[in-house]
């Protein structure tokens, strides 16, 4: 007998309640009057606060007209008269729109309207019935928050103007709407007791029966509210448990589906909306991050900034997050992360007279192990980041409130809230947070952030109104709305037995962000070291009497930091964001070239304790080698640390050091190449061992289909399907002189070509591989694999401030999940007495397998940017087989030599810092001292001495104490300040 599905055709009582709730909402406005005098000028934003207008004159804008165009901004104005009957009431200006609008009333910034809210109260800004309205409005196809279903339905570049109105609200209806909103959420959620949900449904039905929807009367609305109060809110039979702190916050991506030039208005709108809520609800507190966003308010909206300062002073507007922006925390170097703290904290100190003791990074894609030390030494006590709890794809991160122990042993309090940082303060979201909270035993409460975000927007009136009703719903956890500072102090400072997490905060997702947008990563690395050189050279020139270009350097550094934002540097953004970033990098590079002002015949070695003895490419038009498109030669500079010297071009042209047959023979190696450039044999004659076991220097193109999070993710099954490259030109010797030999192969796919040049050197065991790629793929991941004949279970990875050892075996799900990890300049795998390192100058992702490591080279994703990574790429890496372990072989020093260029300049600084790495030397922010930052990178302890008296400071250059020696511990970063006059005799 056929199965017949029985479909209920009549309406269930709950559906009837929903229907009537919709009817009720139509009566929120007691009266509305359309404004019919709008005029509009359409434009497109070209730079911060600069617009290209499409119309010379404003045109009329009527209800039903089309407005906005792709990437459009509109300037809308109206002179209107408020109806007499509204005067004396709370008057609203309402406009339903998909766009983001900043509203000025009679010349004053009155608030914001966007897909999450459609009206503002205008009473504080009017003195008569005559009103002048000005709107700056940005429309974008992607709403701030795809989680708001109403905003999804109106996405698109061209919008229909739905009219603007003055109106007055029926407070009784509005209040009842909030009551029912709260109760329906609980009734529909399986988080709550089934009997309670039935009870709510039953009583809501009865309450709504008081209202005749053909003739809605206020007294009936009040009766319905009274019924709810009496039969639901005062009924405390259903008990909840748990404690949840509610922190208002709005996540603002500086760039993502919009350019950073748009973030200025997005931020202003968000700030205005939150400040107006503070005016209406005196108990409302709101936490806002990123010093950069405060800077834009100060720069472009000084009158709003003054109001903002007042609200910060009275405690309702709370700056959180020490960092200048919310950066990616995998790829930036230690010095970049320090500068995020330095420039952020200095801004808060200078403008608001406060120090921020939180690091607030809700959306960041994992956090480097070097962070706790940087935070602690920048004055941060608390680290907050949601991502690991809500996004891990394999393991549940085991803690929410804990102590995070860093690479050097530094500890900070850490809060990884159990649920998403974007929520709209609904009872079920709060209950889910408590249910997911894993540290209930520590007797702490859990943190729930609420407010729309991604592109700002924040809290709505509805969220606050619901919050004011939470204590009426006895089944909910106990909640309190407080500041971030209050939450963190209450739940960490006196809490004993907090669990400890000792290691990086690896995010088990978004593993592709170490590789996506190759050019951005390359520029970032190059400029990080160029800033180092530019600042050192500027200090040395200052010691000779020249001016230090403090402002130029600071401004340029801030621009680099903005581009380290967690949707810029990781590559998860639309096409123009990438274009902006590259333009910024070119501008920064030109500024640094101007500051470096290289000239003369001598080269300055800005590295300390490293004598530049590694093989180095020197650009020279008369050189006989072409590398990365530039002519030059390879040599061994041998320039003392922090000194200058001349570099000799090798003169010998005897090519007898290499013989090419079935194998390639040099003094050190016997090598067998495969036709595709991979190496099947690499026998080291000096230490009498073979380095190759499996694929070695083998290029792979994997099918890379991660799904919606295209730019972000690499899936664990990425190796399942591979596209095999065609060997167009088998490897062959293409160049040899007295010092270097080049072997070239050309590979291809249907759409791309890949030229690989492998360089062997007469006097160096390092092997350089240059890649010249015309890349026109979709959904491919290019990796170069190294499967050496080395028995080990760990790979050592540079973090830029010390190394991290990661397990290669796959026994546990934690090991399995880390199949793609972030490293910086190098990785090394070794046995006792020997090992093999691969050094790069702009690649960050490595694949970890039990017997091999692969360096991720290029991706080809199409969301959010359909053009991502398409084009020409040139990059190199260095294969360094070595005896001894990676410390004895000075792999970190070789990697520094490979990344930090020599500078054409003549200096000698007579200072030594032992084995510590001179990470930075700059003029202090107050212009009084030379700041020297030293980093212990090899896991050793020792004593810094012999440099005279110095002040030890924190990383924000705050004086701690004076000393003549400093005992440092493994992986410690030390910041000292020395009076410039004391250094003049050192130069």
């Amino acid at each position: 007998m056929a199965h017949i599905e029985v479909v209920r055709r009549s309406m269930r009582p709950e559906e009837y309640t929903d229907l009537r709730f919709g009817w009720l909402k139509r009566h929120i406005y007691e009266d509305k009057t359309e404004i019919t005098t709008f005029k509009i000028r359409e434009a497109r934003q070209t730079a911060e606060m600069q617009f290209e207008f499409y119309d010379n004159e404003p045109r009329d804008l009527k209800r039903g007209d089309m407005y906005f165009s792709p990437d459009g901004t509109a300037f809308i104005e109206a002179d209107a008269v408020i109806p007499e009957k509204y005067m004396g009431r709370e008057i609203r200006f309402s406009l339903k729109t998909a766009a983001e609008m900043i509203i000025k009333i009679n010349g004053k910034y009155a608030g914001g309207i966007d897909p999450n809210r459609e009206s503002i109260v205008i009473n504080p800004f009017i003195s008569s019935q005559n009103v002048h309205i000005e709107i700056v409005s940005y429309n974008r196809s992607k709403p701030d928050d795809e989680r708001n279903p109403e905003s999804l339905s109106v996405r698109g570049c061209r919008q229909i103007f739905e009219g603007g109105y003055f109106g007055v609200v029926n407070d009784a209806v509005q209040s009842l709407v909030y009551d029912i909103e709260l109760l329906l959420n609980a009734a529909k959620s399986d988080c709550f007791n089934e009997d309670l949900r039935h009870h709510i449904n039953l009583e809501l039905d009865k309450a709504l029966n008081y209202i005749d929807f053909d003739n809605v009367k206020n007294e009936d609305v009040l009766l319905a509210a009274e019924h709810i109060e009496k039969h639901i809110f005062t009924d405390k039979r259903y008990k909840g448990n748990g404690r949840v702190a509610l922190i208002a916050h709005s996540h603002l991506d500086i760039a993502y589906y919009w350019r950073r030039i748009h973030a200025v208005q997005k931020n202003l709108r968000t700030v205005l909306i939150q400040m107006r809520l503070m005016d209406k609800y005196p108990d409302f507190r709101y936490a806002h991050t990123q010093a950069y966003t405060y800077e834009t308010v100060e720069k472009y909206y000084p009158e709003v900034f003054e109001e903002l300062k007042e609200k910060i002073k009275n405690g309702s507007f709370e700056p959180v997050g020490i960092m200048y922006v919310e950066p990616d925390c995998n790829v930036p170097s230690a010095e970049s992360l320090i500068r995020q703290c330095l420039y952020g904290q200095n801004y808060y100190r200078e403008k608001f007279g406060i120090e921020v003791d939180t690091c607030w990074l809700p959306d960041v894609f994992g956090n480097s192990w070097i962070l706790p030390q940087i935070l602690k030494k920048s004055g941060v006590k608390y680290f907050v980041s949601n991502k690991m709890s809500t996004w891990n794809d394999t393991n549940r991160f085991p803690h929410n409130n804990f102590i995070w122990k860093g690479i050097d042993g530094s500890e900070v309090y850490a809060c990884v809230p159990p649920t998403h940082f974007i929520s709209w303060n609904m009872p079920d979201q709060i209950q889910k947070n408590w249910d997911a909270f894993q540290d209930k035993d520590t007797d702490t409460e859990t943190l729930q952030m609420f407010g729309y975000g991604d592109g700002g927007s924040g809290v709505t009136e509805e969220m606050i109104e619901l919050m004011h009703r939470f204590d009426k719903l006895s089944v909910m956890p106990e909640t309190r709305h407080i500041t971030a500072k209050e939450y963190l102090a209450d739940n960490f400072n006196a809490t004993k037995n907090l669990p400890v997490w000792d290691g990086e905060l690896y995010l088990e997702m978004h593993r592709g962000t170490f590789t996506t947008k190759s050019d951005i990563k390359k520029w970032n690395r190059e400029l990080e070291y160029k800033f180092r050189n530019a600042e050192i050279v500027s200090v040395l020139r200052m010691l000779r009497g020249e001016d230090y270009p403090a402002e130029k350097l600071r401004d340029a550094y801030k621009k680099l930091l903005i581009n380290q934002f967690h949707d810029i540097l990781p590559g998860s953004h639309i096409t123009p964001v990438c274009r902006d970033a590259i333009a910024d990098y070119i501008e920064i590079n030109e500024k640094l070239d101007g500051i470096l002002n290289e000239s003369g015949d001598k080269y300055f070695n800005s590295l300390n304790d490293i004598s530049r003895k590694s093989i180095t490419f020197i650009e020279d038009e008369n050189g006989d080698v072409t590398r990365l498109g530039k002519r030059g030669y390879f040599t061994y500079p041998y320039i003392d640390p922090l000194s200058s010297g001349t570099v000799q071009k090798p003169v010998g042209d005897d090519t007898g050091w290499i013989s090419v047959g079935e194998t390639v023979e040099t003094a050190q190696y016997s090598i067998k190449f495969n036709s595709d450039g991979s190496i099947s044999k690499l026998y080291d004659k000096y230490i009498e061992r073979e380095w190759v076991k499996g694929n070695f220097n083998k290029l792979h193109l994997y099918y890379d289909y991660p799904g919606v999070y295209d730019a972000w993710d690499i899936l664990p099954n990425y190796k399942d399907k591979e596209e095999y490259l065609t060997v167009e030109v088998p490897i062959h010797l293409t160049f040899v002189n007295g010092d270097v030999a080049e072997f070239t192969t050309v590979l291809s796919t249907e759409n791309s070509s890949w030229k690989m040049i492998t360089r062997l050197f007469k006097l160096s065991g390092n092997i350089e591989v240059e890649n010249i790629v015309d890349w026109n793929e979709k959904h491919r991941l290019a990796k170069v694999e190294f499967a050496p004949d080395i028995l080990t279970r760990e790979v050592v990875c540079d973090t830029s401030a010390g190394y991290i050892k990661r397990e290669m075996n796959k026994n546990t799900t934690w090991q399995q999940a880390r199949f793609e990890v972030c490293h910086h300049k190098w990785f090394d795998i070794g046995e006792t007495g020997a090992g093999l390192a691969v050094i790069n100058n702009g690649k960050y992702g490595i694949g970890v397998e039990p017997d091999s490591i692969s360096l991720s080279l290029l991706r080809a994703t199409e969301r959010p940017d359909p053009t991502s990574d398409i084009g020409h790429h040139e990059f190199t890496y260095l294969i360094v087989p070595h005896s001894g372990d990676f410390v004895e072989a000075e792999i970190n020093n070789i990697a520094l030599e490979y990344n930090v260029p020599l500078i054409k300049a003549d200096f000698k600084l007579d200072m030594q810092f032992g084995e510590l790495y001179l990470q930075s030397m700059k003029l202090s922010e107050d212009g009084k001292n030379v700041i020297i930052r030293l980093s212990e990178q090899n896991g050793k302890r020792g004593i810094l001495s012999g440099i005279g008296e110095f002040s030890v400071t924190d990383m924000t250059e705050k004086y701690l104490y004076s000393a003549t020696e400093y005992k440092y511990t493994p992986f410690e970063i030390i910041t000292i300040a020395i009076d410039a006059s004391c250094l003049k005799d050192k130069i």
Partner: protein
């Protein structure tokens, strides 16, 4: 027409997370490939009319734009 699409229209479309690629122009019909966010836009027809209007205003030519959506695999359901 190809230059106009590439230089004038494309940057604006890209600014909204979309992508437009010139395909052909034949007998007053301009065929373009819409990718990115445009490929799944519910109100793409409004944008296409706008493009037609822009072309007419800028070049004086009346064209019919034939937009072919090319969704990435993860939206192609």
């Amino acid at each position: 027409m190809e230059k106009y699409i590439n230089e004038i229209i494309r940057p604006k479309i890209q600014g909204d997370g979309g992508e437009i690629l010139f395909d052909s122009y034949d007998g007053g019909t301009l065929t373009v490939i819409m990718k990115g966010e445009c490929s799944k836009c519910l109100i793409l027809d409004r944008c296409i009319h706008w493009i037609e209007g822009q072309i007419e205003t800028s070049t004086g030519k009346k064209v019919t734009v034939n937009a072919i959506r090319k969704k990435p695999f993860f939206w192609d359901t």
